[in-house]
Symmetry: C2
Subunit: 321 residues, 2 copies
């Protein structure tokens, strides 16, 4: 949850004057997203919008890629926030001296208690996203992929064992092993790279929208599936739920079948996906100032997930037929 920046009436009025929307009748900071400040705007004609103000964790140079992707996906049948163009045709603007953009508001509820039906829903949505993203011309390197992990870890290594004894050594070993067997040549394309439950809206068991594309990049499609498997198919005690995983994979493969090479690579992709979130959470855990607005997530959650995948020899363990 986050509203990092206060916006004055005058600043809001000046920003909105550039758009052909109806008059603003309410403006509410919302507890959504940890990277940016988000506000819900209601207008006189009843149309709601989301105003996103980009804080310092998003590189402004990447914004055209992100906004262009959302426009592309929306035009290709993926329900996601559509950047609203100002009267001058631009969708990227400035508010309080920061980049900002206005988006359509998506209906739907983020699931808080995940069921196998939700997993099937997100699997189908992810396949749809991968298919629609194939024709997107934008390219963005994944700045949090395998080559980034060691440099990221080095920033936490000295204090890693303050989080858990021997954590540094355990991560070291996994980094070596993952690096040695990381698959090459798997199908790549546009991936979401952060499709956690709070970024997916449902109406009933159907996905009604996908949000938060600010980690999207060009990378291995099955790696994105592994990120989703980690985020959706473990219980709160870190037990792997194969019923959920089976539902996720089956629904994904109805939209986009996995090749044999992709299926075989799933255990190491999932182990790598766990490593990526373990390392960023570890960094945030060690570097979030006291009293920060956003409480860091426990990095050890992802250590449990990593350990699970380390022991998986065969993708059949994920319910892959």
């Amino acid at each position: 949850m986050a509203v990092y920046t206060e916006v004055s009436d005058e600043e809001l009025a000046a920003f909105m004057a550039a758009y052909a929307t109806a008059e603003v009748v309410s403006f509410t900071g919302i507890a959504q997203g940890v990277e940016n400040s988000n506000f819900l705007i209601q207008t006189e004609d009843g149309t709601p919008y989301i105003l996103t103000l980009y804080e310092k964790r998003v590189n402004p140079a990447d914004l055209p890629y992100f906004l262009g992707l959302m426009e592309h996906l929306a035009a290709h049948g993926v329900t996601c926030p559509l950047p609203i163009k100002a009267r001058d045709g631009h969708s990227l603007s400035t508010l309080n001296g920061r980049p900002a953009a206005l988006f359509s508001f998506l209906k739907g509820l983020s699931p808080r208690r995940i069921t196998a039906e939700h997993c099937a829903g997100v699997g189908a949505a992810l396949a749809g996203l991968h298919l629609a993203g194939k024709s997107y011309a934008g390219v963005r390197r994944n700045s949090l992929s395998v080559p980034a992990w060691r440099p990221l870890f080095e920033q936490s290594r000295q204090r890693a064992d303050t989080v858990m004894p021997n954590l540094a050594a355990e991560i070291d070993g996994d980094l070596d092993e993952i690096d040695g067997v990381w698959p090459r040549g798997l199908p790549a394309g546009t991936i979401h790279a952060d499709l956690f439950p709070d970024n997916v809206f449902f109406r009933g068991s159907e996905v009604s929208g996908v949000i938060d594309f600010y980690f999207a990049c060009t990378d291995v499609l099955a790696y994105d599936l592994a990120i989703v498997m980690n985020a959706w198919c473990f219980e709160s005690d870190f037990e792997f739920n194969v019923t959920k995983s089976r539902a996720l994979l089956a629904a994904y493969m109805r939209g986009r079948p996995l090749s044999d090479a992709e299926a075989e690579a799933l255990p190491v992709l999932a182990r790598g996906a766990a490593m990526r979130f373990l390392l960023t959470r570890l960094y945030d855990w060690l570097n979030t100032p006291e009293g920060a607005l956003v409480r860091p997530k426990n990095p050890l959650d992802y250590l449990h997930i990593l350990r699970f995948h380390r022991r998986v020899a065969d993708p059949g363990a994920y319910g892959l037929d």
Copy 2:
């Protein structure tokens, strides 16, 4: 900003099933209020609602008073959140094991940069609230009035000087003086007691709604006006802005003229109102755990305001004609 409690889909569905509203199509935690968790609900027919979940700082025994007051005010022309009755006729319900209620959504924007027009607007709205509140049968003692200040201060005294040297002695002196001259017999009624700018919505220079009645109580009406003067008429450098104060008082008095006794009491009422917020902020400052979701406000802001009123001999200093 605050969402203290996560609400699951099932819990939300069970809660909303008791109401005759249209289907919920979105549910968003909002950054509003520091005492409770608030969520914006959008429904299929386009009607938005606010769901408030009462956290531990609100005494459940007081909720019928607060909800009854909002119903009474709304029925008497004050635009405030209207508690929505469930099919069984009750407006107080339970969610996640806590008291909760559903309210109408108010249009309008809280002013972030206060003008004299805003001060006139809130003055008129406060007079309207006092007039409408006179006929409310509910009574609630002000648990943060003069007799509460010493016991509250005693909980902070030992560490007060860690906030500012000699703060404890300065507060001691003011408490003695205020107690000795606190006026008796002024007109009393239902007061809001916390009418800060983020609790007032405007459309243009007109007040479109008043929210957050969870400090409302039965107390001296002019004391409520003094709270508003402190919250709206000081600049960010704690300079008193008499233009704003004049606009506030004139607009208030067009709705509800002050008696001579009330006008003469304004300096001590304003000093007391500053003391009340100095003491609660000092307590919160010293007792908020590190990493808390809500950052405590600087108590010394209100020390500056208190010192200003200490030097005021005549209500003419506030622009009272």
